[in-house]
């Protein structure tokens, strides 16, 4: 069930809110709705999630009380990695190790359950946090089950740490201001997804599909449109999840912070998919030694992290190349390029980052290395363009949305209106400055307008599934 589907907006969500209101933020209700949400989207694969809940709950308890904490942690990690590898990577592995064999054919048909990467990573983080003593093992099965299956961030993040919502589970954080932010986050997210990402998707998808035929300018337009599409798609979903979280009394972590405003890859990864990059930092990069060892060890750690980060996004060579591409540029920046960059005017720093990020998205979006090479070749004139122009799919709406996409991926609008509208504050989404009442009314008006426009577009049947659902 997509957040942007009519059945979610006009049936699932209001019924959930009614039960929330009547039963005063009951975790049982949240768990029931979450399991139903997954059952709706994935059918009986909900049993896989239930198995993960039960196993991680008991392993968590065992880590908490046993003298053999490490053994139990290994058991838990092995289970979670087995689930992830079996459902997500086995097909790819077999196709590489034993191509064309019946086993590879069979493995290719294994269904990838929605959001498996997200809830498995949450389970792993829970077990490691208990092992490290950062949190106590949770005795309440209801709380662990709710944490793992919570529907707002179940299928596309953000990846939530148990420590960050434990207090809210015990005592939901309910206030008028939080409800205000709930409405605002949800509607802005909906608008980002439906009005910007989906519109650009309608343009970028057919252009990427016609990669052999498109001309040089069209290759650039396809790459830029997709870069904006994936940002607004993912950020939109995260914002909707954060908004629903506020309605429930939970504060989910910020997942995006204007990533295209970054001036280097190092900064980009502090702003893009923050919950994933911090997860890799805390549970992989630092345990590997982080930057505490020699230069070579640090570079090795970075490459391992970004190789796995690429693989996390999908079982395919293009994702591996994408991850290594980012990892390599992070290393180049560490070697000394970042110091050179910082001496350049701000414009060149942005240009450097955006150019390389767009190239990386072409790798990410392509379905084969052939496609990547051809599109990049056309973009940079190494391959002569085909006869197909962007005209075939161009509409005035796309031109308008492209411009809006550029504008809204910067802080320009937020800076311009933040004195009149109580938007999430300029310096960070979590600064809750009390503004005058008119600013709140203006914020609500903006949210309602976005909601109405999004609903019109959803009903017109032009929305597309969330890109991140496949991860």
């Amino acid at each position: 069930m997509l957040f942007t589907s009519s059945i979610f907006l006009f049936f699932f969500l209001p019924f959930y809110l009614l039960f929330e209101a009547i039963l005063r933020h009951s975790l049982i209700i949240l768990l029931t709705f979450s399991l139903f949400f997954y059952f709706f989207g994935e059918g009986w694969f909900v049993l896989l999630m239930l198995a993960s809940i039960i196993i991680n709950y008991f392993v968590g308890l065992a880590i908490g009380v046993s003298e053999h904490k490490q053994r139990w942690l290994v058991v838990g990690l092995l289970y979670n990695l087995f689930v992830l590898i079996n459902f997500k990577y086995l097909g790819f592995l077999m196709s590489q190790l034993a191509p064309g064999t019946p086993v590879a054919e069979l493995a290719n048909h294994i269904h990838l359950p929605l959001g498996i990467s997200f809830f498995t990573f949450q389970c792993i983080s829970y077990l490691i946090d208990v092992y490290r003593g950062d949190i106590k093992s949770e005795r309440s099965f209801l709380k662990v089950a709710t944490y793992i299956s919570m529907f707002p961030q179940l299928v596309a993040g953000p990846i939530v740490r148990y420590a960050s919502i434990k207090a809210d589970m015990d005592q939901p954080n309910i206030s008028a201001l939080n409800y205000y932010y709930a409405v605002l986050f949800f509607c802005i997210g909906l608008g980002q997804k439906v009005l910007i990402a989906d519109t650009l998707g309608n343009f970028a998808d057919p252009l990427f599909a016609a990669w052999k035929a498109i001309d040089n300018v069209t290759a650039w337009l396809a790459a830029v449109s997709y870069s904006l599409q994936i940002f607004f798609d993912f950020a939109g979903y995260s914002n909707m999840a954060i908004g629903i979280g506020y309605l429930m009394g939970f504060e989910f972590p910020q997942n995006f912070n204007k990533p295209y405003m970054a001036k280097s890859f190092t900064e980009f990864w502090r702003r893009w998919h923050i919950s994933l990059s911090t997860w890799f930092r805390d549970y992989l990069y630092i345990p590997l030694g982080g930057n505490q060892g020699s230069y070579l060890q640090t570079y090795r750690n970075l490459l391992i992290v970004f190789l796995l980060c690429g693989l996390w996004h999908g079982a395919s060579w293009v994702f591996i190349i994408w991850g290594l591409f980012h990892g390599c540029f992070l290393i180049i920046e560490r070697i000394g390029f970042k110091q050179i960059l910082e001496k350049l005017p701000s414009f060149f720093q942005h240009f450097y980052l955006l150019l390389l990020v767009v190239i990386a998205w072409v790798i990410f979006r392509s379905e084969s290395t052939d496609q990547t090479i051809t599109i990049l070749g056309k973009m940079f004139g190494f391959i002569s363009g085909g006869l197909m122009s962007y005209n075939a799919y161009y509409t005035h709406e796309i031109a308008i949305v492209l411009i809006l996409g550029f504008i809204f991926s910067t802080r320009f609008v937020e800076n311009a209106v933040s004195h009149f509208i109580a938007l999430p504050a300029r310096r960070g989404m979590w600064d809750k400055e009390r503004k005058n009442k008119i600013a709140y009314i203006a914020g609500l008006t903006w949210a309602i307008l976005l909601f109405c426009l999004s609903v019109i577009k959803i009903q017109a049947g032009v929305n597309s599934p969330f890109l991140y659902f496949r991860f």
């Binding site: 969500l13 209001p14 509409t395 009903q459």
Partner: protein, 399 residues
């Protein structure tokens, strides 16, 4: 206070759902030009819950409140503010609209309307084969096979093509290279078939606003009447004179299902009620027609017309695409009986059951009713697809 807030939000969001039982499905079905999705079978919930919920979602989406209003509003915004319709791939320039393609194949209709060179068109060999087969099948019934081709708007109003249509296509359409080549080639390859293609006269009449209305995809009014009269004259068919009594009336344009809302324009509206009876009750033809209708989503795809004033021994089966609807009453003036079947639905071969049943019924029609003329009517761009859709029904030896 917080709980009241949640309840209020929930109630507002529930409004579209609560309106579902109050909505009449007929107009929604008509608006979306499809049968609305059925409620899924409960047994599916256990055996294949994912499929059950997908069906449930389709059922919900088809009926949820405000869906038609939202779609209409969205398309109006595109059409009037952005001066185009991205959703339906209708392009507009000034008052002229052109249906140019689909998302998968943009400009496909413009390409079909304005092929680069007609006599190199490989599809013609297929068409020739199909027409030969149809003509041969009809020989034993002494029925004539006639093809009426309506020039498309693209060819008549090439200078009004929207600027977003690629230049080479605009040039190809406006070059008007096609007329003579087209007719010449048709007459050479389809020598056993009567082909009627009145493009020259269409171009003469293009400035008559009621002939080929700019806001409409199909031709109406005087254009439809003109096609029929020119056809009768061309083949020397005696027909009932209506006295050209008509009113100028404002009617809703077509392609509502593509545009999602109505535009209005003025056209000739002919009243043939003193001459013709539509779908007469207790008639064998009508009963057969009702059988056909069972397999069609739209009743207007079929019509049986009897001419009370004419005794010329001619009975026609008019097989057409959507262009048949505005022309059928005018053509009925030249026949004692005329049965019209819109065979464009045969395009959808994925619905095998409906397709097969309809084809079977069409064969029965040919066997049981002694039609003298089989008329295939469509616009020029549909020459291939429509002929191909007939192939199954007229398989050699089956009729």
């Amino acid at each position: 206070m917080h709980r009241i807030f949640l309840v209020l939000i929930a109630l507002v969001l529930l409004l579209p759902t609560l309106s579902i039982p109050l909505r009449d499905e007929g107009p929604i079905s008509q608006f979306f030009n499809k049968r609305l999705a059925a409620f899924p079978q409960t047994s599916l919930l256990i055996t294949n819950p994912k499929s059950y919920f997908l069906d449930l979602q389709s059922w919900f989406n088809d009926r949820v409140g405000f869906n038609t209003a939202s779609v209409a509003l969205y398309r109006k915004f595109h059409f009037h503010i952005l001066d185009q319709s991205s959703y339906n791939y209708i392009s507009k320039r000034g008052n002229f609209i052109f249906y140019h393609g689909t998302k998968e194949k943009p400009f496909r209709f413009i390409v079909a309307d304005c092929p680069e060179k007609y006599n190199s068109h490989s599809d013609y060999y297929t068409i020739e084969r199909i027409y030969k087969r149809i003509s041969k099948s009809l020989e034993k019934y002494s029925a004539r096979f006639r093809v009426v081709i309506i020039p498309t708007k693209t060819m008549i109003f090439a200078n009004h093509l929207p600027r977003r249509i690629p230049k080479y296509l605009q040039l190809r359409c406006s070059a008007q290279i096609s007329d003579k080549d087209f007719r010449k080639h048709l007459s050479e390859t389809l020598d056993h078939t009567d082909v009627f293609y009145p493009i020259d006269i269409f171009r003469e009449k293009r400035n008559d606003e009621t002939f080929y209305p700019s806001f409409s995809y199909h031709l109406h009014g005087s254009g439809a009447r003109f096609i029929a009269e020119a056809y009768f004259k061309h083949y020397g068919i005696q027909y009932s004179k209506s006295g050209h009594k008509f009113k100028r009336k404002t009617i809703r344009t077509d392609l509502v299902f593509l545009k999602g809302y109505n535009l209005e324009h003025e056209t000739e509206v002919h009243d043939y009620s003193p001459l013709l009876t539509l779908n007469p009750k207790k008639d064998e033809y009508t009963q057969t027609l009702f059988e056909l209708i069972k397999y069609s989503p739209k009743v207007e795809d079929y019509m049986y017309i009897t001419n009370r004033t004419l005794k010329n021994g001619r009975r026609a089966l008019l097989l057409s695409n959507s262009f048949g609807k505005p022309v059928r009453k005018h053509l009925a003036l030249g026949y004692e009986n005329l049965m019209h079947v819109n065979i464009a639905q045969f395009y959808n071969r994925s619905d095998g059951n409906r397709h097969q049943k309809t084809v079977t019924l069409l064969r029965n029609l040919m066997k049981n009713f002694k039609f003298t003329d089989i008329i295939l009517l469509h616009q020029s761009s549909d020459l291939y697809t429509l002929s191909k859709s007939l192939e199954d029904a007229f398989t050699d030896g089956d009729i």
